[in-house]
């Protein structure tokens, strides 16, 4: 019974995300409705984070972040930031050195691509809300 309720809730949430995402990603960019469509989840996540709500996200064992343990991501992030700075310095729409958003725009050309990315973005936001400070012992 509990599993059935969980499955039903999962289906309802998924249907809601797909419906809202389909509408939101169908708005023309730079329009008021596009800003509202993106602004609503941002406002909800910000409000949930500020009042400390949100379902608790299953969190991995706390880790110590050091340069030694995080260097692969520092390298990847550094390369991305460097490439982005060069792209922006060349005007942001350079064909030779495009920025990340210019590359991502190609994936946004299809409504389904926008919908999938939007759903992933919502999932990341909701996951962030669910991260809580560990209890002090």
């Amino acid at each position: 019974m509990r599993n059935g309720g969980t499955a039903l809730r999962f289906l309802l949430v998924t249907a809601g995300v797909v419906t809202y995402g389909y509408w939101a990603t169908g708005r023309p960019p730079f329009g008021a409705s596009a800003y509202v469509a993106v602004g609503i989840p941002i406002a909800l996540v910000a409000a949930a984070a500020l009042v400390g709500r949100g379902r608790s996200t299953p969190q991995p064992t706390p880790v110590l972040v050091t340069v030694r343990s995080a260097w692969p991501w520092l390298l990847i992030g550094g390369l991305m930031v460097g490439l982005e700075i060069v792209g922006l310095a060349l005007g942001g729409r350079s064909a030779a050195v495009p920025t990340l958003s210019t590359v991502v725009d190609h994936a946004l050309a299809w409504h389904l691509g926008r919908l999938l990315l939007f759903a992933g973005w919502l999932l990341v936001g909701w996951t962030l809300v669910g991260v809580h400070r560990p209890e002090r012992q």
Partner: protein, 67 residues
């Protein structure tokens, strides 16, 4: 064109690296481990939410379809 391929390679490498970190649990951290560690502190959490909001705003409300 070459740099667009470099971007694609970087994104694929980042995704593959993260998957490997999640599955094999090597001695290096995945980006999710780093984000969870940052998000445990209230200021870090708000900072990550601000980055998340900027990305959504920039990508989904201010995109330009390629010609």
């Amino acid at each position: 064109m070459v740099v667009a391929l470099v971007w694609t390679a970087l994104l694929v490498a980042a995704l593959a690296w993260e998957c490997w970190c999640r599955l094999a649990r090597p001695r290096w951290l995945g980006v999710t481990d780093i984000c969870f560690a940052v998000a445990r502190h209230p200021v870090g959490k708000l900072l990550l939410i601000a980055v998340w909001a900027f990305v959504g705003w920039h990508v989904f409300a201010r995109y330009t379809l390629p010609a």
